[in-house]
Subunit: 288 residues, 6 copies
């Protein structure tokens, strides 16, 4: 069960409206790696959590915080839209700057939401739940979370470059700091789990059932060997169970596949004679 506090977690007030930036800012609200994604990802991971209560609690703590981040962003966007110059339409025909403002906006900010934030990204594409994952495996999911916070902080940093409004930058300064913490948090949680069960997900699948001869080979599927220069191509493997090996010319280990011909009932075999497989067709035919 949840309770709402009316104050925002942090300030979300632009110095002045900017409907074009409002469109761009939608990316970190409703985009693939926006706040809606981390909010829903952490909440679902928490609600589904079958592990120790401290993990469930931690996931729901951060998920609950993220609802508040979605709230800050919607509030910011609504205020940025205050400057939409629809009522200056006649001016716009003459003034290219007003026209540009109208043209650079997301038209749905006017037509659909009436100057409100929308649950979409910076090109207007709706948020959808295939953006998130809650696999039940903590190590896998914490890696998903670390990725989400990395992509998210990167996007906020890029948006920081794209505005000079002090109010927006102030809110972003807060979000960047929380993303710093959240990257720290997931690294810490990952370290804790890896210390228990190693680094390969899932840890509890018996390793002897995999084809271990290829478990540490880097395969060079191209002409040229620049890829031999990385840490991934030599030295002990990161799971401490072998050594990286560079395979310069990987060979096919499988067969050349030949599928059985299409059966008649798929009507796909070139040159096959007309034929219905289900005998009852005669009855059907009679009815026509």
């Amino acid at each position: 069960m949840f309770i709402h506090m009316k104050e925002l977690q942090y300030h979300a007030r632009p110095e002045k409206p900017d409907p074009i930036f409002a469109k761009k800012l939608q990316e970190v609200l409703g985009g693939q790696y926006g706040e809606m994604s981390v909010m829903m990802q952490y909440l679902f991971q928490g609600w589904n959590c079958r592990a120790d209560q401290k993990y469930r609690d931690m996931l729901l703590d951060i998920g609950t915080e993220e609802i508040g981040h979605v709230e800050m962003l919607t509030t910011m966007i609504a205020q940025l839209l205050d400057g939409a110059p629809v009522d200056q339409l006649e001016e716009a025909a003459k003034d290219p700057l007003i026209e540009a403002a109208l043209g650079g906006m997301n038209p749905q900010h006017l037509i659909v939401s009436g100057l409100g934030a929308t649950p979409t990204d910076s090109v207007g594409y709706p948020w959808n739940s295939r953006y998130i994952v809650a696999s039940g495996n903590l190590l896998a999911d914490f890696r998903a979370n670390l990725n989400a916070e990395s992509q998210g902080r990167l996007q906020v940093a890029r948006l920081y470059e794209m505005t000079t409004d002090p109010g927006i930058r102030k809110m972003m300064g807060f979000m960047l700091a929380r993303d710093t913490m959240h990257q720290n948090q997931w690294m810490a949680a990952i370290a804790e789990i890896e210390s228990m069960e190693g680094t390969i997900v899932p840890a509890s699948f018996p390793r002897e059932l995999e084809l271990q001869e290829v478990s540490h080979q880097f395969m060079n599927f191209s002409e040229g060997e620049e890829s031999a220069e990385g840490r991934w191509a030599k030295g002990p493997s990161m799971d401490n169970q072998g050594k990286f090996e560079y395979v310069a010319k990987p060979q096919a280990m499988g067969e050349k596949p030949v599928l059985t011909p299409a059966p008649d009932f798929t009507f796909s075999r070139p040159g096959a004679l007309p034929k219905l497989t289900n005998e009852s067709s005669k009855a059907g035919k009679g009815l026509l």
Copy 2:
């Protein structure tokens, strides 16, 4: 430019057909974390790569390998579908096992693809490119890749439990081993980048511009403090720039938002009088 070898990278031949398992196996072909996702993710990261050639080459090597994994899975699925009992429809009315086989199949495997694999997941949902990311930031993207290989290997392990067909398990034993390598590979690549620029993405955003007082605080947004027990709540932060702090009762730092009233031109203000803002309306009106 790419070249095709007719042999598969590894064996992909089931002992016997199993159209119901074919449906399930689609998840690791065309699902959120299936082989199509890693194939397209690595290829786009490689093609867009603006860093040292060894990264580009490495990304395209593994991306090229993954095209071959998609090939193995489609081949396997097509063979599993050989047992679709459509031609035994009259038997099915009497034999619940045949009926179950028909009922448990993905109907599109019969109607749409005619016993071929489809570019969809285990519930028939189409693959789409919002599953993948290529941000240009190597550390962010390598974390995305480590996550993808972790979720992917987890799903293959679960599917391994769900069949006992030796041919399918053989192919999965290969895929599990390659996923082991690929998790190793991304961990190695991550370690290499982190040793250059630290652990927080993006490294080149000036840290003093974020609100550093909240950069290492875990905020407990719930009643009860189970979440205080984790590595994320105490000790040095993972970025070595501070110490984790547990905030048991986080306080709102922002204002209570009050938005300006809706302008007339949105037709959204309750109780507003009828009014058109653009004066030219009179002309329009005259035309009606």
Copy 3:
């Protein structure tokens, strides 16, 4: 079965081309609440209708009218696109107004549809059938319809503000009037059904099976009680079966959930030992 008349239901001729407005106008053609939505919603409700023939007929009458509205909008958009200045590309490099026109257009209007309307909204997102509902319950569906006509007329009114072209406004004056009728129509149909069975959907679910003690309580899930001021917080309930009650501090009535640990076969339990559950794995293993 349907028949086509070649005349439009009403005039759809702009005074002059305006490819930027064409993009915006797409919202009421192919958007969430555009004409394609009401057309398909009413047709499906009509075709599926199991109630009295007058409802089926009424639904199909209005659905058939809406096909004609889609026709009017596509016709209007095609004419607005006549002004696309692609052939003035060299001028565009010099003239910011031509450039703006090219920039403000939906690029698919040039590349994909060749100056034709597209079945998408104002940001180019395709229409999809999850926009509509046909539940079989008339009261529920008529409420969906009243909502659709309300959102739709609101969007047309906003677009009316965004243009001063007399031809477009003329067509919109017709559409606004029909939306007025259609709001009236659904209110009338709702009143008719509510007079038969009351206001709560579905009426035929036995009310004694719901937890009636919370059937009329407004729960205040926030600090502060501004929400106590509305009609929903006091006085007789709208279903005439009780009185609204304002619960200032709602209490949890449920348990703190603790899920059972993840079983081994999900490979999700932290720290579990490697283990395959299906015994047949030994056979599989042998094959590797």
Copy 4:
């Protein structure tokens, strides 16, 4: 800002696991009219609210409650999945009931979420934000909300019929009661707004600008006149501004559209000669 209470708003504990019902129950979690939809719809309407604070507060109160309903449903589904018989795979080959359970499950409940609820509907389709609306116009949005609660309660009632598990029915008895309240609530809020500004959305668009001669006409777009029998076809209109009129044979009021021929630069005119419009092509041609 939000706070989490660890107790559920109401009990969510099934008497026994039922992974097939878990799949069906997903509809009211992540479907078009599931709890995720009302949660996000009310939160966005509240965050974007530019009207009196009591509306904002009311919207956020109910939105916050709905987060708790999503929590109840995920909890219930996770427990229903406890009975997934993957570890009885060898039995399943022999026992059609176990096989049926495996076959009737959503495969992603095993492969992707590891016995957790997913943010999808009963056919596995992901939730997306085009399910919701926040237009800024209170009357329009409250009608959307009344519709959502009507469709939602209808779906819960149908699911109630589809199970006899007392624990599930208990939770549903609570949800049905809250949906009763929420239908009441939106009817009350609608009544309050309609008493201020009338029944047609948007109220503040000048009625004289619409083509009022068709504002109260029901048009019979079919052969046969069953549709004349309803309240929508005669008597005073619901907006009290006219009388319903039944038009038995509606006539086209518009022109037969003839579009201008496709310009050369679209390469669409049948039989046109090869021609490039942009003169600079010669330069381009030279480079080939």
Copy 5:
């Protein structure tokens, strides 16, 4: 403008209900190549048509017919769903056949549409408008149409095999015949256009601007030359402008791409120092 006739174009009455087949039949209603697709494709092509009126009329004639086909399919599906055994739930627990019927149904046919057809395909995926095309180029679009009728008739033929119900087969016998006509129709229309302007789309792009040395080469991008055996590898080209040439070992004609390094403002260059590019950041920084 459109008019509705109450009779169906052809009979759509199953001999007996079959809710499992109803699910499968959805494919040709709301699938990628279902009747909704051809209906919307032809209507949009017709409404956007800028060519001779006979093409517009022909497109709208067939588009109007297809609305009637959608009507027939929804009617058929609704009747197939009459046998949904929800009211026999207690029996289902004991009788595997009833259970199978419940399990094999699309759950949304019960929960969402209440025994009505849905605008989705056989796995419940919603119809969307990216299934269709209306490019403005008649030859391109007629080829799209011929493809749609080919895929559509193939799917109906497969479904014919999957049922023996005489009523369903009767309706399908009609649909197969119309699809035969429609394939004929598009071949005729294609022949008419090709006789005017040749076979390559678009005809009016100047051929000398393409790199003609590769306009008739089949390139063998694999080891082994089975692909040399086809009509496409030798003999005169189909456009009568050259001869097919088989290139056994295609060579790269382009450069090895090296992209410029990522600029600082993307925060993507590995090892770059912290740096904000926009100078105004100092102001922003001061505000934090």
Copy 6:
């Protein structure tokens, strides 16, 4: 299995950056008929191919070539994005040309991909696999392929008009030529199959089971008979099995559908009394 060559198949180097054109060029990379579509369509058709090896080989040859076309386009787009003027933000406030460049870009090219190509179309909509088909029937699929190459070449031709950059035009000159070949190729393959089995897909469905009296009728579903003027309305049918017939006034051949009333368990019958169908409800009720 696949191998990567580091050189591009053809040159992909613009004369100068143009981030606005980059957005438009995305259409032929990740749009409905972009290179990703043909790449995946041909690969899936090849992998699933159950016919003669020459078809499989041919399909995989061209599919492999198309991977290289995707590579060329991503490379081109990345270079076009080099001119994104983010670092000139302060200038942009003053210079409308820089502002226009920022405004006309796809914002995700900056925020999400950091100056890289994205797997989306020109409005930012993600590629999805419902764009493609692999039905197993060669004739149907080759028609899909001919359509794809026709739409694709048309779009490239339109984009050719929209730029005068010699580098882009050079690459397009190559792509246009390959599309010419590929249209030729599919026409050749179609001719080969049609010579074996005729022109109607699927050929092996028994023609006597379709309602042959309507197999060659053009039905005029409109007032006016312009559509009688085409090749499709008279003369021998294209399948050489009959003669086209023009039906000026098509008559309904089916019944007026009347569906059975909604059963109680759907809670959809207007005016029905409250009633639960499953008797076990009493137990459930007791628990509330």
